[in-house]
Every structure is written in structure tokens, then in C-alpha cells.
């Protein structure tokens, strides 16, 4: 309802300081809501509008002209104390959240309400509207509203990374192996009068994938499938970036539909004929799923994710080593006797990913982080060599210890060559090993490439900048990835 550019302008105006000084302050505080709360002059009169009333007024603001939105925000700022102002800004920017895992939150709620944890997790799924459902109805399921109940997904079962040798899992025959696709994990829900595609983040993405609409007519009502949505052409998955273009849009233009048609590869059948299959063994669910999908007419964008069969772990490991050629991230291993559990539960489901790519690069820019990392230089831009030049190609902000970030922060402070707002240019001296999951051509980047999930694996104090990788070696990786 209010974007951050508007907020900055209104706040620097209200604080009587130039915008550049607001930005400098923001770079130091690392939190927009806090920056505004601290910069505004003291409140004129105290008001206590309450959370419910404030939220309702905020929601009513959507779509109002700027003058009306600005007047509301200015009035709130002028009447709230520093703490209330901070919380108000957090609500306004959508940053009012705490980093608690969903599992922990569900467990706490279960203990507080005496409800069964798994049941509660299921009730909390979907995009229920707090304005239209009471807390009571949400957690007890009593009087649940019709409009949200029907298309509600199940809590996703998650896998843990396999760190030990696969032989530790016992006989290979006890396990279902399938490719770990690099797409959007989703649940396809068809129930009487409802058809929905949910992402793992519990976002309703039905409209982004119009090619799935015919499935509503062919899947029997009371069917829920867990699977991976992929861009798919010529019998092969498209890179994740092609799919990503479709996620950010409300409606998908025809061009994208033909360039990156979507397909769902199904992993699991969670509900059939309205019956919850989750407690059944995977082998049963899988068999029923394959049978169900076989009954569908051909040419629908839905198929079972193929099993990767192997007589022993060695053969399976060999199959895994070809993951990159199949456009996947490795293998998933699921115990055939396992139920469909809630959340991340170790023991039955494992992701057995291939080793990431890695590259040695030098840091050329550093920027301070936000929140807990405000004032600490944690966001770095990296370059590889291109002849005698350095070409920036990736940014990363994770993978180092707090102590390492603190040490690098001191180094950045002493070695700043230039400042561009919150960004510092530093001499190309610190070398890091970066890991990443994929590499793609990108006309938007100077280097012509884009990495997927780049992060720092280690600080290579043993290496000097002349020992880093070159843009040519990255291009070679790109050619391999594309072939």
C-alpha cells in the first residue's frame, strides 16, 4: 500500500533532512522502520489506536491516491511514540515478523491450545484471511470458513541432506530414488468446486500456470498431488531462470507460455477420492499415484517423476553423477515404507545432492548488511580475471562465520577506496571460494553469466588475486551446463 521510495521521501521531509542524509542514516541503522522512527521529531500528541484498528485502516488504504496515503501515514507518525512508531513502520513495510521456523511455531501453538501438532499444521495451511476467520476457528477447525477450507493443501514433507555414505541407509531395495528437480515444489489440489496449485511457501500460484487448468476436468475431485513444477520443452527441463520469469507475474503473456511451458512431475499422492493417504506407506501411495496418472489422457502437462532404478548403491551413485546432464540437482531417497510426514523429519527422506560448482574469486565491493548484520560488511561483490582486468560476476553474503565477517569489516574500514552510498570499493586482495548450484547466460550482467545460489565456502587466505579463476573458465562451465 506504501512503497519504500514513498516512505523515504515522506520521512526525510517530515524529519527536515535531505534525502541523501536519510539514506546515509538508513545505511547505518540497516532497518528502514527503525531509521524512520529515530529520525522523526518527537510525537505531537499521544494516541493508542490499537493493532486491530490500525491494520484495518492500513488495509483500507490500498489503492488510495498518494495524497490520502501520505496524510494517513503522516498523521500516524505525528501521534505515535518511538516504539509504536517503529512497530507501525514495520507493519507498513511488511517487515513485522520474527524468525521462528514454522515447525517451532506450530509446536508452540499445539502446546498452548492442546491440539494435535499435525492436525494443527494442516489447519494453518493455505491463505486464510485473518479478517475473516477467528483465531478460535483457525486452531480448532470448528466453524472453519467454506471459502478457504476446500482447497487447503497439506503440510509439505521435507527431506534432510544426506551427509553419510548412502550404504548407511541399508539395502537399496528399501528406497525409492528419484531425481531432485530444480523447479517449484507444489501441491495440486482438486476438490469439489476447487482447483488450486500451492507453492511450498503456501502461496496460491494457480493463475501463473494456466496450462494446468485442464487438469481440473480430468483429475477426479478429492485428489491432492505433491510434485515439482518445471519449465519443460523437448522432453527436458528448462533452467530454473526460465520458470522464474513466470513467478513474478500476475498474468502470464502468451510468449512466455510458448517459450517456457510448465509441466508437473508428481512425486506423491496425498489424497485420493477425498481420503487422506498420508499415513499409508510410500510404496502404496506411489503405486496408486502411477495408476491414477495412467488413467489420464495423454498430452496433459502432468506425469510421475520417474523412478531411478539401480541394483545397488554404486550404480545409484553412478546415476547421481549424471544429474547435471539431466538438469537436476541430484537424487532424492525416500524409504518405501515411510508415511508422508509433516515438515522436516530425519530418517526417511533424504536429499542426495551433487557437489556444487566452485570458483575462486576476489572481493571488489562490500556493503553492510541489515538487521542483526547492520554495520557489519557482509554483502560482497566478486570478480574473476579477464586478461588483465577484473570482471564482476556474482554477489554473496553467506557462508562465513561471525568472526570472519567482523575481521573483514575491520579490513574494509581500513581499505576503502571509494564510497557509493552504502557500498565501499576495496582493493582486490581478499580471495574467496564461492560455491553455486547452476550457471546461466545473462545479458543483464556485465559478465554475461548469472549464478544460482552463490555463497562463500571459505576465505582463501592462502591465495592471492592472481590465482583466482578466469571468466573463460566460467564460460567453459556455462557451455557444459548448456549442452
Amino acid at each position: 500500500m506504501v512503497n519504500s521510495t514513498e516512505l523515504r521521501l515522506w520521512a526525510s521531509d517530515a524529519a527536515g533532512i535531505p534525502l541523501w542524509l536519510f539514506e546515509e542514516s538508513y545505511a547505518v541503522a540497516g532497518d528502514l522502520a527503525e531509521t524512520i522512527a529515530r529520525l522523526l521529531p518527537p510525537a505531537l500528541q499521544a494516541a493508542d489506536p490499537g493493532l486491530d484498528a490500525t491494520l484495518r485502516r492500513l488495509i483500507a488504504l490500498t489503492g488510495q491516491p498518494e495524497a490520502a496515503r501520505r496524510a494517513f501515514v503522516a498523521e500516524a507518525w505525528a501521534s505515535l511514540g518511538p516504539e509504536e512508531r517503529f512497530l507501525f513502520n514495520k507493519l507498513l513495510t511488511g517487515g513485522f515478523r520474527m524468525g521462528v521456523s514454522q515447525g517451532l511455531m506450530v509446536r508452540a501453538l499445539a502446546q498452548a491450545t492442546g491440539e494435535e501438532e499435525a492436525t494443527l499444521a494442516h489447519r494453518l495451511m493455505g491463505d486464510w484471511d485473518p479478517a475473516r476467520i477467528t483465531f478460535e476457528a483457525l486452531v480448532t477447525g470448528k466453524g472453519a470458513t467454506q471459502d478457504t477450507g476446500d482447497a487447503r493443501p497439506y503440510p509439505f514433507a521435507l527431506a534432510a541432506p544426506l551427509e553419510d555414505a548412502p550404504e548407511s541407509l541399508g539395502p537399496v531395495a528399501d528406497w525409492l530414488a528419484e531425481w531432485k528437480w530444480d523447479g517449484i515444489r507444489g501441491q495440486l489440489v482438486t476438490r469439489p468446486g476447487a482447483f488450486a496449485l500451492w507453492s511450498r511457501g503456501e502461496e496460491l500460484i494457480t493463475d501463473r500456470f494456466p496450462e494446468f487448468a485442464p487438469l481440473a476436468d480430468f483429475l477426479p475431485p478429492g485428489t491432492v498431488l505433491d510434485g515439482e513444477v518445471l519449465g519443460w520443452r523437448d522432453n527436458a527441463p528448462l533452467p530454473f531462470a526460465d520458470l522464474q520469469k513466470r513467478i513474478g507475474r500476475k498474468t502470464v503473456p502468451r510468449k512466455l507460455l510458448t517459450e517456457a511451458p510448465a509441466r508437473m512431475l508428481a512425486y506423491d499422492l496425498l489424497e485420493e477420492n477425498g481420503q487422506d493417504l498420508r499415513p499409508l506407506p510410500l510404496s502404496t501411495r506411489r503405486a496408486r499415484m502411477e495408476a491414477l496418472l495412467l488413467r489420464l489422457p495423454p498430452n496433459l502437462p502432468l506425469a510421475p517423476s520417474p523412478r531411478v532404478a539401480a541394483p545397488d548403491w554404486t550404480a545409484l551413485a553412478a546415476a547421481r553423477s549424471t544429474a547435471r546432464e539431466t538438469g537436476t540437482e541430484g537424487l532424492m531417497l525416500k524409504r518405501l515404507t515411510s508415511s508422508y510426514h509433516v515438515g522436516r523429519k530425519r530418517g526417511d527422506w533424504w536429499k542426495w545432492k551433487i557437489d556444487p560448482y566452485s570458483v575462486d574469486a576476489v572481493m571488489i565491493y562490500a556493503q553492510a548488511g541489515h538487521g542483526r548484520r547492520a554495520n557489519l560488511y557482509t554483502d560482497f561483490t566478486f570478480a574473476v580475471r579477464d586478461g588483465n582486468d577484473l570482471v564482476p560476476f556474482a554477489k554473496a553474503y553467506s557462508g562465513l562465520t561471525d568472526a570472519e565477517f567482523a575481521e573483514i569489516t575491520r579490513w574494509v574500514q581500513k581499505h576503502t577506496l571509494e564510497r557509493f552510498g552504502p557500498v565501499r570499493r576495496v582493493p582486490p586482495e581478499l580471495v574467496f571460494e564461492l560455491a553455486f548450484e547452476g550457471i546461466q547466460e545473462s545479458p543483464r550482467h556485465k559478465s554475461g553469466i548469472a549464478l544460482r545460489f552463490p555463497r562463500m565456502v571459505r576465505w582463501r587466505r592462502d591465495k592471492t588475486p592472481d590465482q583466482i579463476d578466469t571468466i573463460d573458465s566460467l564460460r567453459a562451465l556455462l557451455r557444459v551446463a548448456q549442452s
Binding site: P18, E24, T35, R38, L39, R372, N375, T409, Q413, T416
Partner: protein, 383 residues
């Protein structure tokens, strides 16, 4: 930084000369004073600026001395006893009489001379005087006058009278060199009494729950300020590092309530409901565990920033600083009447730009660190 280099020629600090001091001296080191009124062997630079910025610190050629230098020099004028201002290794020190005991304690055997606040002293061709900066007990701004031109070096300062330090006095000058540790509008301090009430409430609540209150604060200045501003709700215990300076300042006559040094046998049992004042490094150590059950808090201007509070894992942070906040920096600069301001120690780049937009001729004094910005990791130590 740029402007400074253009306007003020950077020159090498003079090599130590083995020259006997000439002329009679009225100072209590007599003929041996290292701060002689005339130094005929070192001609003053008529055209140069009164202070120049060298790789050892601020240098006054006309008087042949440095102010708060960070590398060993022959003669150093020192604003106060914090370790980034009063450093080891200089040939001679000049500081206020009130600052000297702590400086001597910290630096050991040094050749040092004390000067009363407001007393003019001629060094070379320059008239020098020290004036209260309100930062910590004994802290000073240093005023220099040469042929009618007046410069003031602020050292660290705050405007609010804390009841312990000699209160800040604005000094008129042409050129003002100001610290700006908290030189962003993010920083606005509440009045001391308000913070004192918050801390007292916290202490009382802990005591009621049978907990010891451990308050982290810097050992020179902040620690004693806290002791003197809080109501006597119970015994005040001190970490050795804090007790040393406290004792010295109390012996000088500063009004500091009684404290008990933490030694073997001093713990939560022997002193229930106590307030322990310790350096930040002592939090969460085995030393602090003797006070369990306890609650820890940190008193610092940096506690204004949520990110820093969270990163350091302090449950409670009290926002109290011995540095000027944003409004105070602006007030102090305005009241000097200076047309030219150099900023140092802190958010120098934005603060310089702000001053320029306010119509001042503004520059940056580069510090030892080479960076133009002292950020919390560095500055916290000096607060």
C-alpha cells in the same frame, strides 16, 4: 578529506632536534619545561595553517607540538585520558591537572605537566589554553591563538552536564575541529535523568527477583558517571579495571559514591541485590558467573541501534553516551561562531557534507586508520 589535502599542505612531522630550550620560562618545570614560549630554531610558518594534519596527528608548526598524536612525538598536548587520545611514547605531555592522574596511571613513567582550565600558556608563537569538554572528568578542548587567528580542537565532548565532568564551555573560534562519533540524525539522547530512571527501575526489578544487576560500561568516565547518577539502591561492586580509575578520580575529589572491588568472596551471596559495573569484555565470562542469578545490560550510545544490540546479544541496552548527539553537535558548532569546521572520529563523510550544505567551509581530518569513518567496532572502545 579531499578538501583538506588541497587547502592544507600535508607536511612531514619535524624530526626530533637536539636543541636546548632557550629563554626563561614561568612554568613549574622551570627552564626544563618541554613547552617553551620561544623556539628560535624552528621558525613559525607565516603563511601556513595553524594546524596541519600529519601522519602522526594534528601538528602545530608555530608552537612545534602535536595534539592527541597517535605515533611518538616530542611534545604532545592531550585532551583526555582515553587510550586513543593519550598514547604511550611521547617525549612530553601537557594535559589538564584533572586529567593527569589517570593519564599517569595508564602510561606509567612519563614526562608530563598539568595545566589549569582556562589558563593561557605561550608555546612557541602560539597561545594555548584548555577548556572543559564535558566528555569525562578532566577532559578538555584545546584553544590555539596565533596572530589573532583562533582554532579550537574539541577532543571528545558532550553538552549535557553529567554532574561529574567539568561542564562543556563553548569557545568562540575561526576554525573548529570537531569529533562526530554520532554525527548522524539517528542519534538523539534522552536527558540523563530519564536514563537514570530506566536503569534504576531495571536494578530495582532485578533486586526484587533476587538477581544481581551487571552493567557494562567503559572504565573511564561512563562507569563513574553511572555511579554518581544512580540512586543508592544497594551496594555498587566494581571490576578491577573500573575500580582503579574510580579510586583515582575519587581521590582527586570527584563526588563518586563508595564502591566495592570484586575480589575473592565478593559475590551474589555476600552482596545480594548489588549493581556490578564492569567493562563490556567481562560480560558472559566466568568472572561474571559468580553473580548468578544475574541480568546483564550495556550502557552505551551504540545501544540506540537495534542491529548492534541484537548482534551483541545484549538483552537490555541503555542509551547513554559521553559524546554529543546530532542536535548537540550542531549546537556546539553553531556556538563556536566558526566559519570553518573540520570533522574527525565518526561519520565524517556525511557530517562534512551536511555542514557544507549548512554554509560552513567543511573538511575531514583523516585519522590513523586511513578510513574516514570510525564505526562501532572501533569507536566503542573509546566511549
Amino acid at each position: 578529506m579531499r578538501e583538506v589535502k588541497q587547502r592544507l599542505a600535508r607536511h612531514e612531522s619535524p624530526k626530533a632536534k637536539n636543541t636546548p630550550y632557550a629563554g626563561a620560562s614561568a612554568h613549574f618545570l622551570g627552564n626544563h619545561s618541554p613547552f617553551p614560549p620561544r623556539r628560535p630554531c624552528y621558525p613559525s610558518r607565516m603563511a601556513g595553517p595553524l594546524l596541519s594534519f600529519t601522519d602522526r596527528g594534528l601538528y602545530c608548526a608555530a608552537g612545534d607540538f602535536f595534539i592527541d598524536p597517535w605515533r611518538p612525538v616530542e611534545r604532545a598536548l592531550v585532551t583526555h585520558g582515553h587510550s586513543d587520545h593519550a598514547r604511550w611514547g611521547h617525549g612530553a605531555y601537557l594535559a589538564t591537572e584533572q586529567a593527569l592522574p589517570v593519564i599517569r596511571h595508564r602510561l606509567g613513567e612519563i614526562r608530563a605537566e598539568g595545566i589549569a582550565y582556562g589558563t593561557a600558556r605561550r608555546i612557541g608563537d602560539v597561545e594555548v589554553s584548555f577548556h572543559p569538554a564535558g566528555h569525562v572528568p578532566g577532559s578538555a578542548q584545546i584553544r590555539l591563538e596565533h596572530k589573532g587567528e583562533v582554532w579550537v580542537v574539541s577532543g571528545d565532548y558532550k553538552l549535557e552536564a553529567d554532574g561529574l565532568s567539568e561542564p562543556f564551555e563553548p569557545i568562540r573560534c575561526h576554525t573548529f575541529i570537531s569529533e562526530c562519533t554520532f554525527g548522524l540524525p539517528l542519534f538523539r539522547w534522552a536527558p540523563q535523568q530519564e536514563v537514570a530512571n530506566q536503569i534504576a527501575e531495571w536494578w530495582a526489578a532485578n533486586r526484587a527477583e533476587g538477581k544481581t544487576s551487571i552493567l557494562a560500561a567503559y572504565g573511564l568516565g561512563k562507569a563513574q558517571r553511572l555511579m554518581s547518577m544512580l540512586p543508592a539502591l544497594g551496594p555498587i561492586l566494581t571490576h578491577g579495571a573500573v575500580e582503579e580509575t574510580t579510586r583515582i578520580l575519587r581521590d582527586q575529589g570527584y563526588a563518586i559514591p563508595p564502591t566495592i572491588r570484586v575480589t575473592a568472596g565478593v559475590d551474589a551471596k555476600s552482596h545480594p541485590g548489588a549493581l556490578v559495573i564492569a567493562p563490556p569484555s567481562a560480560l558472559g565470562t566466568p568472572w561474571a558467573r559468580r553473580f548468578a542469578p544475574s541480568d546483564e545490560a550495556f550502557a552505551s550510545g551504540w545501544m540506540a541501534l537495534r542491529g548492534i544490540r541484537r548482534r551483541r546479544g545484549y538483552g537490555t541496552g541503555f542509551v547513554i553516551s559521553d559524546h554529543a548527539d546530532w542536535p548537540a553537535l550542531n549546537t556546539a558548532i553553531r556556538e563556536t561562531g566558526a566559519s570553518r569546521v573540520f570533522v574527525t572520529h565518526g561519520y565524517t563523510a556525511p557530517f562534512r557534507r551536511w555542514l557544507e550544505e549548512q554554509g560552513y567551509e567543511a573538511g575531514i581530518v583523516q585519522t590513523e586508520f586511513g578510513g574516514d569513518e570510525a564505526e562501532p567496532s572501533e569507536v566503542e572502545a573509546q566511549e
